[in-house]
């Protein structure tokens, strides 16, 4: 049971800093290698940067670093990009940042191909800008018309407006036209169709009126509609782009590579390139990349991310291992028995896919509203057209004018702008609290939650063991324990050494320190053999809980018990969820003793131990069958199916890739305390969305009859549209 950051933070970093990986560029094409030699561009994720001082600290410090040409922190993405000479490595930069208090993680620049997203964002922004400037100019001319320009002046102003509006609509409204056309081709009527129809009809009718010296032109309304809806689109895009880039960032943290041994030589290969029978070397601290059988080496394996067990298991030749376990103490050589599609990792992914299919596609509030909205607007406009044709006895021009006015007045500003505005405000607020929404509908689903299911290892706990009862050890035993612990890379030993150091214990001087992989570490202390390690190896009775054992010569053996450290904010989160009246459950793959202790400590009444991945998802599905909406919080591979099965799911950033992919929200910080707060924010955001619908419905209730009876002048249309758009946007901002 290592701290998951032990596997995450230390695992991949040395991997990508290994000599083999540095040699990798030689395999790439020459141009890229040449570019890399001229200057190195390194990207690091700095999740803790949040203020002006952070910018100063990070940039100043990095620019003082030898070899660094420039460093720039992007606070929006919490990412620092460093330009440096070839000698500057990401690991060195990350270490330097760690020293000044900003944990940093190297990002794989290949994974961060942000150019496509960047291009899309700029494209939308450009269209928005063009629509905005045109809108202002047309409005200037329209105001003159409204305030009484007549005859030739009015016609001239309409003509100039047309000259600005037609190219603007042709350029700026393209995203709507394209999506509407795609929708029509696919045989469905989504939001973009009425939008496109309103814009085209308003522009076309106004053009016709202008050329025939008509009184009313809706150029301003057409362009304004485009502008407001583009603003909504852009907000929507921004929210998704930030989530996507952060998700890419998480993916870029872990590079799936393996060390293949062929005829005594090691080479780094992609995991996907491994075949049956290959020999793979797994160094201590590394994660086993494949399913296989150990052929050489002894060690201990941490399977907490796979099964939730906190106790490391002993590993020796002929043991069958599964991908995802972390090797703790000694190097292991593993013969691949299942790779790619057959591996247990892949089977887990299949289970997730099945659960994903079973999960009913959630229809968001906006989608439900759109389903009602699109047909009714078309019917209304078409009905108005027919009615006026009949009343006027065939005046197509008037009837079309009224139909266009109806379409403009019922413009879906509330749907197009209000929902993205609320979602942007809410996800921005949650992002600052350390939560990343990966999916827009997750916010709405989170608001409906009434049951919360926690995983134990790595979620409620940090997975970092802490020694208890150090006081029962004699001072010299503690000194020896500290010295032995410091010599091993085993998490229990490391934790013991750190705890001793924190108490100010000076490690004893030892000779002949040797680590016996899979068993422990031994040494000579003043001529006496001292050992720290597994119970059977040092000759002690095993404790019920996690523990390590210290033997000093023939003297009695000291048992050092460990407890898993509670994640920050776990207690607060559980208490707050219960105070909100939610049912809280704890389902873990760990042994009953440890789970019961944790449940009692946190005050959780419902708990379940030794749960297999299928058991977890079965429990959740049973709850949901009874009509409960379940929020699942988990980090391990054994949680992925449950995370997918749940109504909405959250995983910490330290979780395995598969778990993060399966969940809707990623917790970027280490504390669990923001979770209940996030749930409250989600509830409030959904309330704002509903209010915005009510506002726009109320305004349609007044404006539509005016349009239907043919009284809607361009001035009324412009006023109504801008007032409603601004009201819903302001209402969204109230979320702060």
């Amino acid at each position: 049971m290592t701290d998951s950051s032990y596997g995450q933070g230390q695992g991949p970093a040395p991997m990508s800093a290994c000599p083999a990986c540095v040699a990798m560029p030689s395999a790439l094409d020459r141009a890229q290698a040449a570019a890399a030699a001229a200057s190195a561009r390194i990207m690091l994720s700095v999740p803790d940067a949040h203020c002006a001082l952070c910018i100063t600290n990070i940039e100043r410090d990095l620019e003082k670093m030898p070899g660094v040409k420039s460093a720039r922190l992007n606070l929006t993405l919490r990412r620092v990009s460093v330009e440096g000479e070839p000698g500057v490595t990401a690991a060195a930069v990350a270490e330097r940042l760690g020293k000044i208090g900003y944990p940093a993680y190297e990002l794989d620049p290949g994974q961060l191909s942000m150019t496509e997203t960047d291009r899309q964002g700029r494209d939308l922004l450009m269209r928005l800008g063009v629509a905005g400037f045109s809108m202002m100019n047309i409005m200037l001319l329209s105001v003159a018309v409204w305030s009484g320009a007549t005859d030739a002046t009015r016609d001239l102003f309409h003509l100039i407006s047309a000259l600005i509006a037609v190219p603007t609509v042709a350029f700026s409204a393209q995203p709507f036209f394209r999506k509407a056309w795609a929708g029509v081709k696919a045989g469905r009527l989504d939001m973009d169709f009425p939008i496109s129809l309103a814009i085209v009809l308003a522009t076309g009718m106004s053009l016709y009126e202008t050329l025939n010296g008509g009184h009313h032109a809706y150029f301003d309304a057409a362009v304004m509609l485009t502008f407001f809806l583009l603003a909504g689109r852009y907000l929507d895009f921004r929210t998704r782009a930030v989530a996507r880039s952060a998700a890419q960032e998480l993916a870029a943290l872990e590079v799936p590579r393996a060390l293949r041994v062929t005829d005594g030589t090691e080479e780094t290969v992609a995991v996907s390139a491994l075949t049956l029978g290959d020999l793979v070397l797994v160094r201590p601290g590394g994660r086993i990349p494949v399913d296989g059988v150990i052929v050489a080496g002894t060690s201990e394996l941490d399977r907490s991310l796979l099964t939730g067990e906190t106790l490391p298991v002993f590993a020796s030749p002929d043991l069958v291992v599964t991908a995802g376990a972390v090797n703790l103490t000694g190097p292991l050589t593993v013969r691949v028995t299942a790779a790619g599609k057959d591996s247990s990792l892949h089977r887990m992914a299949d289970l997730v896919a099945v659960a994903e299919n079973a999960r009913n596609k959630y229809t968001t509030l906006a989608e439900r509203a759109a389903r009602l909205y699109s047909p009714s607007v078309h019917l209304l406009a078409f009905g108005a057209f027919l009615a006026w044709m009949w009343i006027t006895g065939g005046d197509v021009r008037l009837a079309l004018n009224i139909a266009a006015a109806t379409l403009i007045i019922t413009c879906p500003c509330a749907l197009g702008l209000a929902v993205p505005a609320v979602v942007t405000a809410a996800s921005g607020k949650l992002f600052r609290a350390g939560l990343l929404i990966k999916d827009g509908s997750a916010l709405e689903r989170l608001a409906e939650v009434d049951t919360v299911v926690f995983d134990k290892t790595g979620t409620l706990t940090l997975g970092t063991p802490e020694p208890v009862s150090l006081d029962t050890l004699s001072p010299h035993a503690l000194e020896i324990g500290a010295a032995l612990g410091a010599a091993s890379s085993h998490p229990l030993a490391q934790s013991l050494a750190q705890a001793a150091k924190a108490r100010g214990v000076i490690p004893a001087l030892l000779d002949d320190i040797a680590e016996v992989p899979g068993h422990g570490v031994q040494a000579l202390w003043q001529g006496t053999r001292v050992r720290l390690g597994r119970a059977d190896w040092v000759g002690a009775d095993s404790l019920e809980t996690t523990g390590t054992y210290l033997a000093i010569g023939a003297e009695r053996v000291h048992a050092i018990a460990f407890t898993d450290r509670l994640r920050d904010g776990a207690q607060e989160a559980v208490t707050a969820f219960k105070a909100q009246g939610k049912r809280v459950l704890l389902i873990s793959g760990d042994v009953p003793g440890a789970v019961r202790a944790m449940a009692e400590r946190l005050g959780i009444d419902d708990w379940q131990a030794e749960a297999l991945p299928q058991d977890k998802s079965a429990t959740i599905e049973a709850l949901q069958a009874k009509g409960h909406k379940v929020l699942m919080i988990g980090d391990g591979l054994n949680d992925t199916v449950a995370l997918t099965a749940a109504h909405v799911s959250i995983s910490p950033a330290t979780a395995l890739d598969a778990a993060r992919v399966a969940s809707d929200i990623v917790l970027l910080g280490t504390s669990l305390a923001p979770l209940p707060h996030a749930q409250r924010t989600a509830v409030r955001a959904v309330r704002r969305i509903r209010e915005n619908f009510a506002i726009s419905f109320g305004y349609n209730l007044i404006a539509v009859p005016i349009a239907l009876v043919g009284l809607a002048s361009p001035l009324i249309a412009a006023l109504a549209m801008s007032v409603s758009s601004i009201t819903v946007a302001l209402n969204a901002l109230r979320l702060k």
Partner: protein, 52 residues
């Protein structure tokens, strides 16, 4: 009303100038880090030597 012959082109030109300025800022990536930029103006150390 002759003034219109001047004012209308002027307003259009100003609009185009604004649009071009917007286009320029967009091309220079000035909207890439809005949060960082809002914090950077609080610092004095680039006042004499603005960072590119």
């Amino acid at each position: 009303m002759d003034i219109l012959a001047i004012l209308i082109p002027v307003s259009l030109l100003l609009g185009i100038a604004g649009l071009l300025a917007f286009w320029w800022t967009l091309r220079r990536g000035q909207y890439d880090d809005p949060e960082g930029d809002s914090q950077r103006i609080l610092r004095g150390d680039y006042d004499d030597h603005p960072k590119p």
